[in-house]
């Protein structure tokens, strides 16, 4: 909770900076979620919804990580399990972040949604090029105020191979 307040304070400070016309630090809101004990972040502007408890309709002839489709208020939305997508063992829960990428709405199954944070864009560091397969689909890294490391999820890459 303390962190959240800290973040809010930071936001207000930024608002003041806007008002004072001082060149501000460009920040971006990220939604942090955990999957297999790693923290991932998705740009908040991509996030359309966070849903739980929908029944997934199985679809044949799609890769295993596509768990199927759901009916989200009349829209048919495919569900991708990020654990399976990254080649990990699936967990039997259903909490999904619905993101819109390149005009496609896709639900991403995650372990748990953590929080929203403002992250200065400058703080997002590139992924070391020699890092292994586990960092696939990560487009950047950043240390969070609580000391954890956030991996920025590359949603485009998640959808395309």
């Amino acid at each position: 909770m303390a962190q959240v307040e800290e973040m809010m304070f930071a936001t207000e400070a930024q608002v003041d900076e806007y008002n004072d016309q001082i060149p501000e630090i460009a920040t971006e809101k990220y939604l942090i979620f955990s999957s297999d004990s790693l923290m991932y972040g998705i740009k908040a502007e991509l996030v359309k919804d966070i849903i739980t408890g929908y029944s997934i309709t199985y679809l044949p002839q799609v890769p295993g990580y596509v768990k199927g489709v759901i009916n989200l208020r009349g829209q048919i939305i495919p569900i991708v399990d990020i654990r399976l997508r990254l080649g990990k063992m699936p967990q039997d829960n259903f909490c999904s972040i619905v993101v819109e990428v390149e005009g496609n709405m896709v639900g991403i199954v995650v372990d748990m949604v953590e929080q929203m944070v403002d992250i200065p864009l400058d703080d997002i560091l590139p992924v070391p090029t020699n890092s292994g397969g586990s960092h696939a689909m990560v487009s950047g890294m950043c240390t969070l105020p609580d000391g954890n490391t956030m991996l920025e999820l590359d949603c485009e890459q998640l959808l395309h191979d």
Binding site: T57, L59, P60, Q61, V62, V69, N71, G74, I76, P78
Partner: protein, 693 residues
């Protein structure tokens, strides 16, 4: 170009296209009658006037000029009635008008494609001009008569008075000042002053412009007339008028009395007289046109044009409401409760949502008449070009179908009509007479509803299909196997195979190799089918069967394990239970079943879709005997859940990227309880199963 401009352009294109279509219709009717009714003259005048105005606004000058000229011509016709056009020139008139419509269409197309407009409009303008000359025959004479005849036409009445009162002053100039310039009487006075420099002997109408300010309104309204004794004097004065300030338009007019020296008149202002005449209608449409135009306006105001995507959106929302409503009223939370008021309200709600659905569906429905009317033109043009007499009969023009379907079938219908004209009808009239038919060929275009389908028939009474020739050609093309016996139906089906065209000659209209196969494809795209029937010597009938709307269809829900699939009802032949003994195995592990003396393969949905759950024992499940295209087979599923009308939703793009369509998954739909069913495409299921085995 900004988006604001784009929307104006959109409006312009839409409006102009609509007007052109209307014009085409009027012209066709008129040509048949070989005359224009008063209404259609007014209508054409109005259309040209609108096109002129809007084109000028959009700065499409070529369009404007041509429209202007035609407007001029019809102004004359309107003033003097259709009799002014000599019988002999009427075909020319119609041809010219059709040409003009084509010209407009061509230009509009260029505008749509962002291409530069053609600058060489002289050809068409000259044609119009020469027609105007012909119509006028004696232009000067005609012009003067116009005002005299138009007694009700305000300004001209005044002119008539003047010429009557002063038979010596017969050569007039009709001057119009800039609209809204104000103090027209003083401007007129200034004009008379400058005219005095050239010639002193003239009278004006209204007369006392200098002293009477009330004449200002008259001049603004009806123009200012200056009358001279001789044409030469007037020609001199024209220079003055030309240089006059605020002069918007002027035109020489001649009073009736002595046969005026028309030839002398013509060169000074070639065709300018009628040209200048028309803009007057700009300021004050002649009373004759007013009631008609007014009536039109009134009828139009009850119509609005709506972007199709908005209707799609509405349709989507309404389908959601229908689904949500049934989710609410059949909510499991309500089980076991006795809620009289709730039940009553729920019933009312259901009725209203049903109505809402009907209305929103009907919004997308448009009559096929627009498409049908276009065929009139094609038949007309082709019958002229090919020298075949033919008439087109339209039946059931007001049959309504979904807008997307109308768009999709327009080209196929056009193609079939062309085919009928080109290949269907006999080459020579004598052949028809010899066959005991009416020398004038007939193409019948009909549309009608049957439940959930619309049936469009294109029928000609021509020579019909020579099945032997078709078969020979098919064999030559390698489409058919020689020495194999084909049924009439099978032979006719060759016509719809890609690359098949019986006419070896390529004509302007057909025979480009793309043919009926494209028709078939276009129709199939909207879920329809094409069938051809023909009898040698009796003509040919092409029937398009198209579902009324693609968004909603009847489907049979079947289950496999937990999954629900929808099979389009029109592909289902029957459902049947079989025992293990009925199943025949082939060496390749394939299963078959015998139904009515034929063997059909069995495809197990569970295996095809690699599903965990579902029946394996053939006796526990049920076979759905389906047929689509050339394929007929039995799909083995667990259970039959019942027939339902479903709203078809496409699969998300992300899913389609995995190629699920190839496995027969064409879309999905949301069922009453909110769950999703997968819509199967019977043909692709077969193809998928075939490649899997």
């Amino acid at each position: 170009m900004g988006s604001g401009n784009d929307s104006i352009l959109d409006m312009y294109l839409y409006e102009t296209n609509t007007l052109l279509e209307q014009l085409d219709g009027i012209l066709l009717t008129a040509e048949e009658a070989d005359t224009f009714s008063e209404d259609s003259v007014n209508e054409i005048f109005r259309i040209m006037h609108t096109i002129k105005g809007s084109s000028a606004m959009m700065e499409f000058s070529s369009l404007m000029t041509v429209a202007h000229r035609i407007e001029d011509m019809f102004f004359i016709v309107r003033e003097k009635g259709m009799d002014v056009v000599p019988e002999a020139t009427r075909p020319d008139l119609f041809d010219m008008l059709f040409q003009a419509v084509d010209f407009f269409r061509g230009e509009i197309e260029k505008v749509e494609n962002d291409e530069p407009l053609s600058q060489s409009i002289d050809h068409i303008v000259n044609k119009i001009n020469s027609l105007i000359d012909k119509i006028q025959g004696n232009p000067a004479h005609a012009e003067a008569e116009a005002p005299a005849a138009g007694e009700s036409a305000g300004g001209e009445a005044a002119a008539a008075d003047v010429s009557a009162v002063n038979p010596d002053y017969l050569f007039g100039i009709h001057v119009f000042f800039d609209e809204g310039s104000g103090m027209e009487n003083l401007r007129a006075f200034m004009l008379t002053n400058s005219v005095k420099d050239y010639c002193g002997d003239f009278i004006t109408s209204p007369a006392n412009v200098e002293t009477d300010p009330s004449t200002s309104d008259i001049i603004a309204d009806q123009g200012f007339l200056v009358w001279f004794r001789t044409a030469d004097e007037r020609n001199n004065a024209i220079t003055a008028v030309q240089n006059g300030s605020s002069v918007r338009e002027y035109q020489p007019v001649d009073a009736a009395k002595p046969a005026p020296p028309a030839p002398a008149e013509a060169p000074t202002a070639p065709a300018a007289a009628p040209a200048k005449e028309a803009p007057k209608a700009d300021a004050s449409p002649a009373p004759a046109a007013k009631p008609a135009a007014g009536g039109q306006q009134h009828a139009k105001e009850s119509l609005i044009s709506v972007n199709l995507s908005k209707l799609d959106q509405l349709m989507a929302v309404v389908s959601e409401i229908v689904i949500t409503e049934s989710m609410v009223t059949s909510s499991p939370d309500l089980k076991g409760l006795r809620l009289d008021n709730f039940t009553k309200s729920a019933r009312d709600l259901r009725k209203l949502t049903d109505d809402l659905q009907d209305v929103s569906m009907s919004l997308r429905m448009v009559p096929v008449s627009g498409t049908f009317q276009k065929m009139n033109r094609i038949v007309r043009d082709m019958s002229k070009k090919l020298g075949k007499k033919a008439k087109l009969t339209l039946i059931g023009e007001d049959t309504e179908v979904d807008k997307t379907i109308v768009d999709a079938i327009s080209d196929p219908i056009m193609h079939i009509v062309r085919n009928s004209m080109d290949h269907g009808l006999e080459e020579h009239e004598a052949d028809r007479i010899a066959a005991g038919k009416d020398p004038v060929g007939e193409v019948i275009l009909s549309a009608r509803h049957t439940g959930s389908e619309v049936i469009i028939e294109i029928k000609d009474d021509g020579q019909g299909v020579d099945t032997q020739a078709v078969l020979n050609k098919a064999i030559r093309q390698g489409l058919a196997i020689p020495d194999h016996e084909y049924s009439q139906k099978e032979i006719l089906n060759f016509l719809m195979m890609p690359g098949f065209s019986t006419n070896t000659e390529v004509t302007e209209y057909s025979g480009r190799g793309v043919g009926m196969d494209v028709v078939k494809k276009n129709v199939a795209d909207v879920g329809g089918t094409v069938t051809i029937t023909s009898e040698w010597g009796q003509g040919m009938t092409t029937t398009l069967k198209i579902p009324l709307t693609m968004a909603i269809m009847d489907g049979m829900e079947v289950s496999v394990g937990d999954s629900i699939f929808t099979i389009p009802i029109n592909t289902i032949q029957s459902s049947l239970k079989v025992t293990a003994g009925d199943v025949i195995h082939d060496p390749a592990q394939g299963e078959m079943v015998k139904i009515r003396d034929n063997f059909y393969p069995i495809i197990r949905a569970k295996d095809l879709f690699c599903m965990d759950q579902g029946c394996d024992n053939i006796e526990d499940g049920i076979l759905m005997w389906v047929e689509a295209g050339e394929h007929s087979y039995c799909l083995f599923v667990d259970k039959l859940m019942g027939e339902q009308q479903i709203v078809v939703k496409p699969m998300p793009n992300y899913i389609n990227n995995f190629g699920v369509k190839n496995y027969g998954i064409s879309g999905c739909s949301i069922l009453g309880d909110g769950s999703i069913s997968i819509i199967l495409d019977v043909v692709n299921v077969y193809a998928a199963a075939h490649s899997a085995y």
